[in-house]
Every structure is written in C-alpha cells, then in structure tokens.
Symmetry: C2
Subunit: 169 residues, 2 copies
C-alpha cells in the first residue's frame, strides 16, 4: 500500500492509474464483472443437473478435441478426482466420449458428442453474446487494453496455457 502511493506520488499525475484507489476500483470491477461473465451460462445450467464445472470442461474439450484428462486438469487447475466426477456424469449422459489412447493406453482422449456440442454451443453463445455487447459498447481500443491487462494478471503457467490455446487455433 505504501509503495503504490509512493510510486504514484513520485511521478505525479503520469502514474495516477497506479494509486491504491485506482487499484481498488480495478479489483472491484473484476469481482462484479466476473459475476456478469458467468451469469448467463449459470442460468442455463441451473435446472439441468450441471454447474459451472461442467461448462468449463465442455468449453475446453470443445476447443481442443481429443485432449487427455491430464491436459484438461492442468488447464482447469483442479485435481483429477474433481474433474473425474464432472467427466463421469458428462460421459454417462452422452455429452462426452472417452477413448483409450492408441499409443499410450493409460490416456483417455476426450471429445464432445453431437449432444455435447449442442450444449456447449448454447452456453458459449450466451456467454459470447454478453461479451460481444460489452466489446461493442467499449470499442476496439478498449478491448485491446482489456486483453493486455488480463494477460498481465495471469500466473506465468496460466499465461502459457492461454497463449498456447490461442495460437493453436
């Protein structure tokens, strides 16, 4: 806290955006915005026996079909046991298929079925619609800044995962 104010004061107005008050605003903006970010998919999923964890699994399987359980749990940042419960229900319900790896039979490769793709698309559409409205209101320069700050906020390994996904498409 003292350091931030010191830094800001040292350089005057030029670093006004680094004051504690500005940082606090940013923290609260993240908190409230993330609620909006998850609100639409959450609404769709309530009533089905699924939750946010299922949405995340569907999302990342969709964007890297054939990925392994291990890959997925690194991306999602949860334990394999936690992921497994989610995957089991998705597989039982015919939304995800699990195939034993051909070269390494310990691995399970995950893909979405037709039904899985349909649900993923429904969730994704809702989330993208909110994102698109926000982007449109804010304009392209704001969007560029938005991504720059988010990327800088990630842990190093998460940034690596993010960039790998981004560039892999």
């Amino acid at each position: 806290m003292t350091e931030a104010q010191g830094t800001a004061h040292r350089s005057g107005e030029a670093l006004l955006y680094l004051t504690d008050e500005q940082l606090r605003q940013g923290i609260e903006a993240m908190f409230f915005a993330y609620r909006g970010f998850t609100a639409d998919p959450d609404r769709i999923l309530e009533g089905m026996s699924y939750g946010r964890a299922h949405h995340r699994a569907l999302h990342f399987i969709q964007c890297a079909p054939g990925t392994t359980v291990n890959n997925l749990l690194i991306i999602l940042g949860v334990t394999k046991q936690s992921l497994n419960r989610v995957l089991r229900t998705l597989i039982e319900d015919g939304l995800v298929e699990s195939h034993v790896g051909r070269s390494d039979k310990r691995e399970r490769h995950l893909t979405l079925t037709e039904a899985g793709q349909a649900l993923e698309r429904e969730l994704s559409d809702a989330q993208r619609m909110r994102m698109r409205d926000a982007y449109r209101k804010a304009g392209p320069e704001a969007v560029a800044g938005f991504k720059t700050v988010l990327e800088a906020m990630m842990d190093d390994d998460m940034r690596a995962a993010y960039l790998a996904l981004r560039d892999g498409r």
Copy 2:
C-alpha cells in the same frame, strides 16, 4: 455464433474484434486472469480457517464501514444464511464488530476491528500488488480500456453497485 461472424463480415476489418474467435479469446482470458486475481489472497487464507468468502466480506466492510448486513448481502450476491455463517466466525474471532443501529435498531452495522483491518490489509496488499504489476506492464491506456470493458460486462444492478461504491469514496 453465426450472427457475430455476420456482423464482423458485414463491416469488414473495422469489427474484427467482434469475431467468435476474438470473443472466445476474451472468455478464456477472463477465466485465466480471474484465477490469478484470486490466487494470492487464497494462498494467504489457506491454513487459516478462512476462505474467499471471508475475504470478500472483509473487503466490502472495509470499504464501507458501518454498512448493514442487508447491504452487504446485496453487494456480495449471496443469501443471508451464507453470509451469516461467514460473519459469525469473523465476529467470534474478533475481526468484525456488529453494532445495533441507533436509528433503526433492527439493523446491524458492521465494522472491522484492528485485527480485521490488519488481515484485510494483508489480503488487499497481495491482491493490489498483482494488480499494480499488471497495470504497470500494460500502461494507462490499456488500464482505461480494461475498466471500460469490465464495466460494460456487468449486470445493470451490479454496475450500479460498483459505481455507487466508486463515487462514494
């Protein structure tokens, strides 16, 4: 999905930032960045018998001392039962004080004790440090864009709460 591409194509390069792929990147950026955003306070809290819910309560009591339980649960977007469990432990442990309202004796006004302020500051410092590093890396224009997009992403009532907090200081 088709609509977004349609929109982008209709106007050409000018709306490139509204393609599905761009939106998808934004979604993943939010996901990974939020993990970073909460990582430091989570690390501090693990081992204490507190969690993210306690952090949020401390944060918003700190930034609006004397706020009521009802205010707080609207801001936090949880039920009173859920908030009450958290507040009870914080009060028992002497981090939060609850005072009966002088004008309306049904209300309980919440404030942080010395110890509560100390913990809030520790958590806040960690979170602000990450925020400050991200802001510094990204620069002031990016930060402005970041806030613009986040604000546009909130639900209307959350944006109202955010702006009220912001302007109330």
